[in-house]
């Protein structure tokens, strides 16, 4: 099986505002990508770019406006998705303390999961299975039993969250910003865990993050999202070491390196009001792009493949000598 899960032209439009001024924000705009078995795929971008919304749609917590999710050949539509989704796909979330109900013991979730899916017949079998999964994340049953979430640290809770997700033996783990709330020095342990799970259990991970450094470290392929569009996608070595899209370059350069010899040069231009960028015609990055051309403001760029990297930028259309993209705006001529 080449593609474990495929997202095809997924779109989600939110309408905000009152009767008098409705604003339509296309939070996820024709997003397409696929993930192979035993692969770590990073979906990276700044906050508000639509990556979390994409995750919610895959998990069935939100309805897509259009587009489909294809998991192991089955096309997902409607509520029944939740059933097969939660057996093949699991998720972990950003804030480990919010992932669990503070008034319940953590192990109660484990027993409940096993019970709901009929994975263990007796209590002993259940404990055995739980212990196995806890061992996979570096914890043991004794230090975990009958405890409340507040008794653990953030890093430990996040690992417990992963163990819970592993209970149903998923083939895809969706990790939504799993380390942003964990201390910098402990992030490696969580992220290393993903690597291990991929190598030993063959689990694929959709790693959603805004931290490009860990994305580089752990993932195989990466897609960079900006205001609902995927602007660049490909093997992580190509995309992050030699970025093509101006936005990727900007992101790459803005990452603070923990090395005082390599400080930032030059000032950066920031957007003043985020939601305005969603409403632009043409390329959404045109307002801030250092390489902006006239066409960028009028026409949405097409997606071009250069070797195995996908780029959505007018610069590459011209250089590659590919004809200019089809017009998306009504009634305009391209010269």
């Amino acid at each position: 099986m080449e593609k474990l899960i495929e997202i095809d032209r997924l779109t989600k439009v939110f309408t905000m505002g009152s009767i008098f001024s409705r604003v339509r924000i296309t939070a996820v705009d024709n997003v397409s990508f696929y993930i192979k078995p035993a692969e770590i795929f990073a979906l990276a971008g700044e906050s508000g770019c639509g990556k979390s919304t994409t995750a919610k749609i895959i998990l069935g917590f939100e309805e897509a406006t259009s587009g489909v999710v294809i998991h192991k050949g089955k096309v997902g539509q409607g509520v029944s998705r939740k059933v097969w989704l939660t057996e093949g796909i699991q998720a972990i979330f950003q804030d480990p303390f919010k992932t669990f109900n503070p008034l319940r013991t953590v192990d109660s979730y484990f027993f409940e999961t096993l019970d709901n899916y009929g994975l263990a017949k007796t209590k002993d079998a259940a404990i055995h299975l739980i212990d196995e999964k806890l061992a996979a994340v570096g914890l043991s049953y004794e230090e975990f039993a009958a405890r409340y979430p507040s008794e653990f640290s953030g890093g430990q809770l996040q690992r417990i969250s992963i163990a819970r997700a592993l209970l149903t033996n998923p083939d895809l783990l969706i990790a939504d910003e799993p380390v942003s709330m964990v201390d910098a020095s402990l992030r490696m342990s969580i992220v290393n865990l993903f690597k291990e799970l991929k190598e030993t259990l063959g689990v694929s991970v959709l790693y959603i993050t805004h931290d490009l450094a860990t994305a580089y470290y752990v993932s195989d392929r990466i897609a960079i999202m900006f205001r609902g569009n995927i602007v660049e996608m490909g093997p992580v070595e190509r995309v992050l070491v030699d970025p093509k899209h101006p936005y990727t370059r900007l992101l790459r350069e803005s990452i603070p390196e923990p090395d005082p010899q390599r400080r930032w040069e030059g000032a950066v231009k920031l957007s003043d009001a985020d939601h305005e960028e969603y409403l632009k015609q043409g390329c959404r990055f045109a307002g801030r792009c250092p390489l902006v051309m006239d066409i960028c403001r009028r026409v949405v760029p097409a997606e071009i493949w250069i070797d195995d990297v996908l780029v959505k930028c007018h610069k590459y259309t011209e250089e590659m000598g590919v004809p200019a993209p089809a017009l998306v705006d009504a009634g305009q001529e391209e010269g």
Binding site: E46, S47, A184, L186, M188, N192, P258, W264, A267, A273
Partner: protein, 347 residues
């Protein structure tokens, strides 16, 4: 360079009483700082190390359940050294914002959501500076905004209309309006995106360069420390365990914790496996004996469990609170050797 703020063996604990049981959280457990004029001093530490409490203490904001258990916080004002806890409430109020300025975590939410920004600025200025009319106050605000390279239009906006990064920068602008000599910033870039973070850091740099004042920057993000700080103090379990110039901290870290911290950060171009610090930080209510890092330290020796190490000087501007630094030696059997030493007993 002259000292502008120093602390001597500062101790501040939270004393909590919940339904009859008492809990003492030793958040700041004997901190000696010597912060100079015209520098950016970074305090690096992770959640649960006490850095926010330290900032509160520096700012003079110790209130129950937090109690000052010992030591002093001395500011060098133009007319001599003053212990911030010897001041009256009114004196403290004047000291803040004019001499010291505090940018708390999540500062983006300090603005009154129903007032336009210019109102907040005007109120602020009129309460601290003698201006004859409200318009004069507005002029001062406008000047400052332009100086910092921010667009004038934002004064006409409501807080919710601005992006998170812009709000953070506007908060910093407000905090620096009266040209304070000391700016204390608590995790100013934490909730922000990478590009916005860069903008905020550059703003702070610009302010520091223009006013030639002091910035005390607290953040766990070592990348930001590398980019902004001149000197860095590493904080662990309520104490500063290492302090030096940024170059030395990153280039020749002395304390095992610092080494782990730096080596665990991923870098581009290198996908080799990195390890994070084993175990978890100790609870400040229940500190281990001796050196608080010993349960996780790969090179701990016997004395580490018994006594808290004092500072040893590795160089004239580099001090480390570690018994292994006593010999003036570099423990080349460093942190990457997790198999050696005492091993790490995680909690």
């Amino acid at each position: 360079m002259n000292t502008i703020l120093r602390t001597q063996d500062l101790k501040a604990f939270y004393v909590l009483d919940m339904h009859g049981t008492q809990k003492v959280v030793q958040a700041v457990n004997g901190v000696d700082l010597d912060i100079r004029e015209n520098e950016v001093y970074g305090i690096a530490g992770e959640s649960g190390c006490g850095k926010t409490t330290l900032l509160k203490a520096l700012y003079g904001a110790i209130e129950p359940p937090l109690r000052l258990m010992g030591g002093s916080v001395l500011y060098r004002l133009p007319d001599g050294e003053v212990d911030v806890y010897s001041l009256s409430a009114e004196e403290k109020r004047r000291l803040r914002w004019e001499f010291i300025s505090y940018v708390p975590q999540g500062a983006m939410s300090v603005f009154n959501p129903v007032l336009k920004l210019k109102e907040t600025y005007r109120d602020f200025i009129s309460s601290h500076v003698n201006v004859k009319t409200r318009d004069q106050a507005l002029e001062i605000a406008k000047e400052h905004i332009v100086e910092l390279g921010l667009p004038l239009e934002i004064l006409e906006a409501y807080p919710h209309q601005l992006s998170g990064g812009m709000r953070q920068r506007v908060t910093i602008a407000l905090a620096t309006l009266l040209k304070p000599s000391v700016i204390i910033a608590d995790e100013p870039t934490t909730a922000l995106d990478v590009v916005v973070q860069r903008g905020v850091v550059q703003l702070l740099k610009a302010i520091q360069a223009r006013l030639a004042n002091t910035i005390i920057l607290v953040t766990h993000d070592m990348g930001v420390q590398a980019n902004l700080a001149d000197r860095v103090g590493i904080m662990y379990a309520g104490k500063i365990v290492e302090e030096s110039t940024t170059d030395k901290i990153f280039g020749q870290p002395g304390h095992p914790y610092t080494r782990y911290l730096i080596e665990s950060l991923p870098r581009f171009g290198d996908k080799a496996t990195r390890e994070s610090v084993p175990g978890s930080p100790p609870s400040l209510a229940n500190l281990p004996s001796g050196c608080p890092f010993h349960p996780r330290c790969p090179v701990a020796i016997d004395i580490c469990t018994a006594e808290m190490p004092p500072f040893f000087a590795m160089a004239s501007d580099h001090r480390v609170a570690c018994w292994l630094a006593r010999e003036g030696g570099s423990h080349a059997a460093g942190c990457s050797d997790t198999a050696g030493g005492r091993g790490a007993a995680g909690s």
